[in-house]
Amino acid sequence: MTWEIVIGLEIHVQLATRSKLFSGAAVGAGAEPNSQACPVDLGLPGVLPVLNLEAVRMAVMLGLAVGGRIAHRSIFARKNYFYPDLPKGYQISQYEQPIIQGGSLEFELPEGGTQRLRLLRIHMEEDAGKSVHEGLGDCSGVDLNRAGTPLLEVVSQPELRSPAAAAAFLQKLHTLVRGLGISHASMEQGGFRCDANLSVRRRGDEHLGVRSETKNLNSFRFVERALEYEAMRHIEALEAGGRLQQETRLYDSARHETRPMRGKEEAEDYRYFPDPDLPPLEISPEFIEKVRRTLPELPEAHAARLEQQYQLDAASAAALIRKQGAADYFEETVQAAGGHARQCLYWMRGELYAALKRGRLDLQSSPVSPAHLGGLVRRIADQSISGKLAKEIFSKMWESREDPDKIIQGRSLERLSDPGKLREIIAEVLRENPRQLKQYQDGKSKLLTWFTGRVLAKTKGRADPNLAGKLLQQALRAQDGNAEP
């Protein structure tokens, strides 16, 4: 392979603010078209933008999380172009002085090892509305509910070297923004969108090749597949002696191919200039410190702590961080169980995840709470119940949402570990099976396990198997004595 792939990403992260970036209208998908658009979002004559400080706070959070430089003064600029879903004829964005510059994010490479991808910048901007072409006959419609929704655009350096690495980085960023609580980052609903720039060059070449930008990548898998397609397209073209042109392409997931975007005959001139309606955004060191204190534990640090505190392997800790809410669930379960972290993890990943999957539920809506699962693990650990019985109790907990201790007591499922009681049962078993007893006494010592099984069966599994085994041996020895007086 003589070719090197060079990839840079631009990711739009929709912020989870209640209202829009420059108006008081509510943010949210699924409402009646144009029902969440106020005069500011509609671009009516005379309206002015007023900046939503909650969005600024969230931008600063991400900036701190990636170690970027928070600009003490940043500028909102107008990006001018005409399109029906752009009501003002310009998008308010940031151009020359973005709120965050630099920063980086380390992620695990699929082939092993890690990469720290440097970021160029993160800037704030408003989203456009949507054009609607279906269901309106020969007309097109415009839905401006999304217009003005706050976005952060994260721009990476072109330092990714494979489509799989690009997907892995995206996963990492996705986990981060959700962990920070600044975005729902729903890819299906466009809350986390990615445009990918790709070029190829001969290995060792210092100059970047001609790049293409691919849009419409709304899943991690599509990002990877689209980039694989693009890389092949570039390489094939160059190997055939052809030339590439800089262009914007759309990914078609159904056909698994990219196509040039229509109507893009020339490069747009957006005529950026500072928005005179918005004074420069000034952020004080005090504000940054205040945000820093509210910063939740960052995923990397969080995973490292889980690994150390609960003696988990790195992969398990990382998996807990990746799944939304899993780390919190795990930690609460361990607390309720009074330790036994590995048992807790075993039960979460086994019974709980299987049940959630069957019920198509997520952790947040699990009928079994961390406190209850922890309680169950506590009973297993102190040997009140057996593992087999625990599964039965888990099912009851799932159905009834009840405390495991209550279930155990209510159904007298508690482990039978009273030696007196067990001796009676053992005596009964020996009485009922004289043939097997004879065989044992004749030297067929394997039958000890068989007798243990009978005892457990008689107690419906409640007998403590260790104790039962010990008492059984004692009883058998005593029987020996009786036989040969």
């Binding site: 005069p39 509609l42 671009g43 009516l44 004559p45 005379g46 309206v47 002015l48 933008p49 007023v50 900046l51 107008r78 001018n80 005409f82 029906p84 009501p87 003002k88 004829g89 310009y90 415009v142 001139d269 005529r271 200039f273 928005d275 005179p276 309606d277 918005l278 004074p279």
Partner: protein
Amino acid sequence: MQGVLETARLLEQGDASSEELTLDCLRRARSHGRRLNCYISLAEEEAVLEQARASDQRRARGAGTPLTGVPLAHKDIFCTRDLPTSCASRMLEGYRSPIEATVVRRLREAGMICVGKTNMDEFAMGSSNENSYFGPVANPWDPERVPGGSSGGSAAAVAARLVPAATGTDTGGSIRQPAALCGVTGLKPTYGRVSRHGIVAFASSLDQAGPLGRSAEDAALLLHAMAGPDPLDSTTDPRPVQDYPAALAAGKERLQGLRIGLPRQFLDERLDARVGELIQESARLLEQQGAVLREVELTHQDLAVAAYCVIAAAECSSNLARFDGVRYGYRCEEPRDLSELYLRSRTEGFGAEVKRRVITGTHVLSAGYQEAYYLQALKVRRLIRDEFLQTLEETDLLLGPTSPTAAFRRGEKIADPVNMYLSDVYTVGCNLAGLPAVSVPAGFTGGLPVGMQLIGPPFSEGLLLQVAHRYQELSDWHLQHPPEPPPGEPGQAGGTPP
């Protein structure tokens, strides 16, 4: 029709009711106002008289304020809920706004009654009021001449005694120049003093709203009600508003030792000689009252119009992009595709001057030209502002003409845009620097009024009004009014002559 202060006195003393005065304003608007073409739309009579009666009752209960029941008119650039907001453009003909401008709301809450929306240059672009889709406005002093622009309808209506006062906006002189050409008092506040919320934007970094009235006292009353921070406009300044009317009385003392700068570049050979004489006489009058005159230099002044043209056009090209025929306003008939919808709606919906500025603005912001024009103009703007501020540290205020000539003839400059832009040569600097300035009547030339401009440091509206008021105590130029239309003309329904 009296000015604001006298009208308020009549109402206070029970010598007139708001209902009578409001009706009088409507009648004048329909008769003389129609001849001058001052208004684009008038309030619905029953609805507005109902408001007037309500304010009469409020006054009777003793719950009135000085402005309760006083009629006024708004420039048709302010969004109003009761009346359409057209900006004198075919693009917005009949447009009904769901929002109300902060200025409109504050004056309404202060008790004023809006009788109509005044004519203007389309989207406030012009200096002669010839750029209106609804036709030009005539100067009440000579119907063959222009009233100035862009707030020409407001200035003409106040000058012709159709209404006690009116609002205007000033991006490069659009309050002060028509005030000068019509012989009324007009004030452009410091940038950020008055909210721009609900004002259809022309050039956002230059636009300011202000009052046009018969005197500094009237302007002070209106400005006091209009000004102040507004959460809906992030460019408004947080500092509290001075009580301008209360401060006026101190004008006499303020003049003692007041340093007044006379910018040499405002008074050179390019200025009409008679206008220059009147300005010098006015300055000497203030000197006799204790002011200290000194000549000052504004060396960057010659660049002001050019910088203004570039910046205003750049911002307007972006601000007017929303008029695309998609959501509201004019839409062309049967466009073949999206591109034609945009092209024809804008070509047919905008007038020539608006298109000229949109095209200019698009050009100066374009890749490859932005540096040479837009960024260069921003540098010039900074130089001009710094020089003004520097000069205003050595002096307390600046005095000069508002406009190089008195009102010119309709059609005289309309074919020569550059010559037209030069009408604003003395006014645009304040917009570029964000400074407050007031134009007050300072004499006549050939039967036409001449305006004197006073310019102060940021937030010196109180000082400007004090000096203007003192000047008006010593002169009677502002009391002159244009000839009344011949009595008994159709529609003239026996209003009380001033």
